[in-house]
């Protein structure tokens, strides 16, 4: 009984810390200020966007995702 209680407590604590794929709003710093990108970007899509940047008129702008 005591073993079951212990593992139940461990499972409860562990489950509250599970990682889930997060989605974020992103923007880039354009020539006239901050420009929000439409929709949300999740997981690998958000990571790729951060790494490659956003291309506008042949200019690559650094993208920032998530709340700052």
């Amino acid at each position: 009984m005591k073993t079951k209680m212990f593992f139940a407590a461990m499972l409860l604590i562990a489950s509250t810390a599970c990682n889930k794929e997060e989605c974020y709003e992103c923007h880039y710093d354009g020539p006239n200020g901050e420009v929000e990108l439409e929709g949300e970007y999740c997981g690998e899509a958000a990571e790729d966007l951060e790494n490659t940047g956003y291309v506008m008129d042949s200019v690559v702008y650094t993208v920032h995702c998530g709340e700052h």
Binding site: K2, M5, F6, A9, M10, I13, A14, T16, A17, E22, Y24, A46, E47, E50, N51, T62, H64, C65, G66, E67, H68
Partner: protein
């Protein structure tokens, strides 16, 4: 005393009150070297079965009694007598003891029981340690902090956990201690360079943390703890499970914490002061005859917000404040992961000789995310492996000899995806050897230690070697009559080779909100400290008076320059020719005869630090803590009742103005802090402790001088209610005796 080795021995005894000769039930009997414990039964008797060495140390302790450490020979019946200690307070009181931490009975250490502090419910180990005179918190918000001992912090304060040296990027101004209190039993603090049998470079002091002992023999326990406080809507939750047989023992713990941005006295919330943390511990012990083994493992994973992050040269404090409280993920933040494992083997050769072996490994990953979620600004990996051997020789009861060797290999690497590198990839190798002698000459106790260390630092374009010799000598005399007097004096040296960060830094450290520059020409800094301690105590009154002074040459200071890079203030590591540190710690405890349940305690501590070199003579040092006056009034209630209020505590802290600051450093105004706490207990089959109280009762707006946010004018938390619930689902079994 014979030299034979027993098999399946039974260790039995009784514990009695020294005044009235009555038996003491519930006293704890602990064989600390073997990790075995039990409790006395209703008749004050105990029994431990096992395969014991010929001679070992036994500690007996009980509430309101003075603890005893004695050397016993297996397996005669043991008669133990404890004397009442009128000053014993269950919590908060910091005990000044002469512990065996240094292998010396002359050295004073400050000992605090972490698992007994629920009436004040500290948020972190550092906050708990700040109850000790001379110890304060260097913080980046209350959840990201590390200890400051007599004005020294960072790499000058070395932390040991269960005998393993913890290396987790302590050089960083924004890098906290990173260790949870869950399952932890005690902390001992040595102030100044007086810990040469552990390390030669703890020039500021040493912090020795110890996890809780195993469950008593042939028993188990489950302890649940939950804590909540209102300023950050924060919660800490832990579960500790212990199971002990006759020879094999295990302990496992899990912890989870979550804190939102904390509430300021003005009603706003400090942006990015949030934190989430989870972790676990596992401990295994086994003893058989002359061998005792212990295995420890700790895992922690934290996401800590970085408040005060900006690239503006003169930001307003309001730009860091929010109208609504939030705990969701947000940039910028630190992600910190730790794995610490250590293995200890003890071999009791015979009654006078013992050997110990330690093998340790630590892994630390610290990444700071400033502008991007998936690409860290800095990403550092620190691997640290160490091996140590120690030999104890006690030829007679007056003489003790301890010698040892240590090696540590550290590897610091940068992640490939990081945008910047603050410190180059580098390796560091340390080797040390020491020997300590303790002798009791007819009541005058002497301790002398010598130590040699060598450090080698290597990176792609840097190579440095540092050799150092240190020594310490201490004397202690006790005399008693109507009162107990205790006088001790120590002269000790410590030498700290420059750290990688001090040598090789050249970049923006976003977490600390500054640009940091190292100096490859730095040499070892050397400290020599004189520490004098006097203690007086009788039945109702005790006094501790502890002045000290330290001379340091080659003192490495991180000082602000009058320039900025990329919008960040520039700080540079530079050596000073000569530095003088001096101060005083004193504490008074009064326990009225007419009101036995009331305790009054006041402690004062202060440290001065000045440059006495030719170049900047008279300059004050950076980051010297404010002087502090701390007062406690504690009332013990319903001491012998099964259910009810156990104690009430009111604590007042006064922090003096700090205007002895370095050039370009901001000074700090004085302030009062008031805290109230109350504890209730239910001593049923499943004991419950409920504590509740309030921090910063007066909602004082104050800046901690040791806060990295002080230059931004950012306040510490306002008033905060808290409660702490501890529930032992299975109580510890008491031993039974055949006699």
């Amino acid at each position: 005393m014979t030299g034979y080795m027993c098999i399946a021995q039974q260790l039995t005894g009784v514990v009695k009150d020294g005044l009235n000769n009555e038996s003491i039930p519930g006293a704890k009997i602990e064989l600390k070297e073997l990790g075995v414990a039990t409790y006395t039964d209703i008749n004050g008797r105990f029994t431990l079965e096992g395969n014991w060495p010929d001679e070992f140390m036994l500690q007996v302790s009980a509430m309101t009694y003075e603890s005893q450490n004695i050397s016993i020979t297996c397996c005669d019946f043991i008669d133990l007598v404890l004397q009442p200690d009128p000053h014993n307070m269950e919590e908060v009181m910091v005990r000044v003891e002469r512990r065996e931490l240094q292998g010396s009975m002359t050295q004073k250490t400050d000992y605090i029981e972490l698992d007994q502090l629920s009436v004040i419910s500290p948020l972190s180990i550092t906050e708990a340690l700040s109850q000790i005179d001379g110890v304060q918190m260097a913080s980046y918000g209350p959840l990201n902090s590390k200890p400051v001992i007599r004005g020294m912090q960072g790499m000058r304060v070395v932390t040991f956990l269960n005998g393993m040296r913890i290396n987790n990027q302590q050089w960083g101004g924004d890098h906290g201690l990173g260790i949870s209190m869950a399952g932890m039993e005690s902390a001992e603090v040595i102030k100044g360079p007086m810990s040469l049998i552990y390390t030669g470079d703890a020039t500021g002091g040493l912090l020795y943390l110890k996890d809780g002992s195993f469950a008593p023999q042939n028993s188990y326990s489950v302890d649940l703890n939950t804590q909540f406080e209102t300023a950050s809507l924060g919660t800490q939750n832990s579960v500790v499970y212990k199971l002990s047989g006759k020879k094999l023992r295990m302990s496992a713990a899990a912890v989870f914490s979550s804190y939102a941005d904390y509430k300021l006295p003005n009603g706003g919330y400090l942006s990015d002061s949030r934190m989430n943390d989870m972790g676990g511990k596992f401990k295994l012990g086994y003893n058989s005859g002359k061998w005792n083994f212990e295995l420890n493992y700790l895992y922690s994973n934290s996401e800590v917000g970085i408040p005060g992050h900006t690239h503006d040269l003169n930001p307003a404090p309001e730009s860091f404040m929010l109208d609504e409280q939030d705990r969701d993920f947000s940039l910028p933040y630190q992600k910190i992961q730790n794995h610490f494992g250590n293995f200890k083997a003890s071999y009791f050769i015979n009654a006078k000789n013992k050997m110990e072996f330690f093998v340790n490994h630590g892994y630390n990953n610290l990444a700071e995310f400033e502008e991007k979620i998936y690409t860290p600004g800095i990403d550092m990996y620190l691997n640290s492996s160490s091996v140590q051997a120690r030999y104890h020789w006690n030829p007679n009861k007056n003489l003790k000899l301890l010698s040892g060797i240590q090696t540590i290999l550290e590897s610091n690497d940068n992640g490939l995806d990081a945008e910047e590198r603050l410190i180059d990839d580098s390796d560091q190798f340390d080797m040390g050897a020491y020997s300590s002698l303790s002798y009791d000459l007819k009541g005058l106790q002497l301790n002398a230690v010598v130590r040699f260390d060598h450090r080698a630092v290597r990176s792609a374009d840097f190579s440095g070697d540092y050799s150092n010799f240190n020594a310490a000598i201490g004397l202690r005399k006790q005399w008693s009559g109507n009162a107990l007097n205790d006088l001790s004096m120590h002269v000790s040296s410590g030498t700290r080779a420059p750290h990688l960060s001090e040598l090789l830094s050249d970049g923006v450290h976003h977490g600390a909100v500054r640009y940091e520059l190292g100096d490859r020409n730095l040499e070892s800094e050397r400290f020599v400290q004189l520490d004098v301690n006097y203690e007086f105590s009788n039945e109702h009154f005790s006094l501790m008076f502890n002045p000290y002074t330290t001379m340091a040459s080659g003192y490495i200071q991180l000082a602000q320059l009058d320039s900025s890079i990329n919008g960040m203030d520039v700080y540079e590591y530079a050596a000073k020719d000569g530095v003088l540190l001096y101060g005083l710690e004193t504490r008074v405890h009064y326990h009225p005869h007419f009101a036995h349940r009331i305790h009054f305690e006041t402690g004062y501590s202060n440290t001065f630090g000045r440059d006495i070199g030719l170049a900047q003579e008279g300059e004050d040092l950076y980051f010297m803590p404010q002087a502090r006056l701390r007062s406690n009034v504690r009332i013990e209630l319903s001491k012998n009742k099964t259910f009810g209020f156990a104690s009430v505590l009111v604590q007042h802290n006064y922090f003096f103005k700090q205007d002895r600051v370095g050039p370009l450093e901001t000074s700090t105004d004085p302030y009062h802090l008031l805290q109230f706490g109350c504890q209730m207990k239910w001593d049923g089959n499943w004991p419950v402790e409920l504590s509740f109280g309030m921090r910063n009762v007066l909602n004082t707006s104050y800046i901690n001088h040791m806060s990295s946010l002080k230059s931004l004018g950012l306040m510490e938390p306002g008033s905060s209610f808290y409660f702490n619930l501890k529930w032992s689902i299975e109580s510890r079994n008491q031993s039974t005796s055949n006699q």
